[in-house]
């Protein structure tokens, strides 16, 4: 049952994003992506700082994860 819910969620996610992607905005051309290449425009930020923060938050809050798979656990939570 849980797996079915997850699959439905993924399908809904795909449909939503496909809809957003296909909306009226014109496609961005390669020569227009200069600003997007800046480090502060990357979706993923500083790797070590992100690891620190995720580890600290996982040790004092119930929620964790969301952006990666395969991270090692710890005895802190």
């Amino acid at each position: 049952m849980k797996t079915r819910t997850s699959i439905r969620t993924v399908l809904a996610l795909c449909a939503t994003v496909a809809g957003l992607s296909g909306c009226a905005l014109p496609p961005v051309q390669p020569w227009e992506k200069g600003q997007l290449a800046r480090p502060d425009m990357l979706i993923q930020g500083d790797g070590l700082a992100t690891r620190f923060n995720e580890h600290i938050y996982a040790s004092k809050e119930a929620a964790s994860g969301g952006s990666a798979v395969g991270g090692g656990g710890c005895g802190c939570n």
């Binding site: 849980k2 997850s6 969620t9 993924v10 996610l13 795909c14 939503t16 994003v17 957003l20 992607s21 905005l25 496609p27 961005v28 390669p30 227009e32 992506k33 200069g34 600003q35 997007l36 290449a37 800046r38 480090p39 502060d40 425009m41 990357l42 979706i43 993923q44 930020g45 500083d46 790797g47 070590l48 700082a49 690891r51 620190f52 580890h55 600290i56 938050y57 040790s59 004092k60 809050e61 119930a62 929620a63 964790s64 994860g65 969301g66 952006s67 990666a68 798979v69 395969g70 991270g71 090692g72 656990g73 710890c74 005895g75 802190c76 939570n77």
Partner: protein, 377 residues
């Protein structure tokens, strides 16, 4: 990469951007390597009790290999010491601890014209806990490179042997899945939506907490939305993210994070940040109200030796939390950069959003300092 004799700070930033894995323009392998070193100092307290303190140096390395490959690795040690309440936020009887955690991970990425594939491994060891994990992740780019689909699967195997021997040779196995999409909406807007599901079974109780008996199975789901917008006229970038979380313990949580990255003259960058968090308590968490005949830490009606799920762990209570931070970074030249980040965190039951928080808990406060540098090679 084309090296100018007098590279500008902007070119240096662009060069750094090209080194980072898993970015939206990552259809080509990095041309230069990078090494980053960071040091974290973290301490937390509540009224009347200095709690955990952590010193954690870490290092990460990214190395391009043979044109189409890259290897990334990181290692860290956490020197953790201090006190932790045995139930709720009770100061009396708090357990004292000292531990050294060693953790590392490595990933190998193959870059193809239409996407990437990465294989990763991670480990973490403490004197009473050992974790090993593997992951496989792939990305597929659309023809115009404006959309990247990401898929991942991972698994971890943890071994638990608490020093108080309340249990021995316990374990926990987890499988997690990821599906996400990144899309370039305009030359100044990029967004990402990521869904993860994690299913685990094994020992989830905290062996150092009193009256703590948790289910041996836990399913977790997250939906993470991120949006970056570039303000060219202000030479600044806003970074927004929202995460919804829920699990089979009955916890649901909302996390809203925002950063404003302000570039200044001379390669300086100034980044204030704010994070708001709120969670609903686990269904088996009980408030600090104790049985009339048994007293603390036992809840009313507690049956000794019973199988009912109970926990008085503050981390499973209902609360809200706020983090305010400031980061200052300096790009020294094309190859070197340094940064310093300060953060202040506080959580309180009364700060829970969308409902009442758990009563009777002392506020938890934490301060962290991160200092680091990155060198390209």
């Amino acid at each position: 990469m084309d090296h100018n004799k007098q590279p500008s700070v902007g070119q240096a930033l662009l060069a750094a951007a090209m080194l980072l894995p898993a970015l939206v323009h990552a259809e080509t392998a990095p041309e230069r390597g990078a090494i980053s070193v960071k040091y974290l100092d973290y301490r937390e307290d509540q009224p009347g009790l200095d709690r955990i303190r952590v010193h954690a140096p870490s290092i990460s390395v990214l190395a391009p290999v043979a044109g189409d490959w890259a290897i990334a690795a990181s290692a860290t040690t956490d020197d953790v010491s201090g006190a932790s309440p045995r139930y709720h936020t009770a100061v009396s009887g708090a357990s004292r601890m000292h531990d050294l955690r060693k953790a590392g991970d490595v990933s190998v990425t193959r870059y193809r014209p239409g996407g990437t594939i990465s294989l990763g491994a991670a480990f973490s060891t403490e004197h009473d806990y050992r974790s090993r994990a593997l992951s496989l992740q792939g990305t597929v780019d659309s023809e115009d490179k404006n959309t990247t689909w990401t898929f991942g699967v991972g698994g971890s195997d943890d071994a638990i042997n608490p020093v108080n021997r309340i249990v021995a040779n316990e374990g926990r196995q987890t499988v997690n899945l990821l599906a996400g999409v990144t899309h370039v909406f305009t030359p100044l807007d990029i967004g990402q939506l990521t869904y993860t599901h994690s299913s685990g079974h094994g020992y989830y109780s905290d062996p150092y907490k009193l009256v703590d008996n948790r289910p041996r199975k836990r399913d977790q789901d997250t939906l993470l939305a991120q949006w970056n917008h570039r303000f060219v006229g202000l030479d600044a970038t806003s970074r927004l993210s929202y995460r919804y979380y829920r699990d089979s313990f009955g916890v649901s949580a909302h996390t809203l994070s925002t950063e404003w990255v302000q570039s200044l003259a001379g390669g300086w960058t100034f980044t204030p940040s704010l994070r708001l968090y709120s969670q609903r308590a686990a269904h088996f968490y009980f408030d600090p109200v104790y049985g009339a005949s048994t007293g603390a830490p036992f809840p009313p009606g507690y049956v000794f030796g019973g199988a009912a799920f109970t926990s008085a762990d503050q981390r499973l209570s209902g609360f809200g939390a706020v983090t305010a931070g400031i980061k200052v970074a300096k790009q020294i030249d094309q190859d070197w950069s340094v940064d310093l980040k300060l953060e202040r965190y506080e959580q309180r039951g009364a700060w829970r959003a969308f409902g009442d928080g758990s009563p009777g808990l002392a506020p938890l406060r934490a301060t962290s300092v991160q200092i680091g540098f990155t060198r390209l090679w």
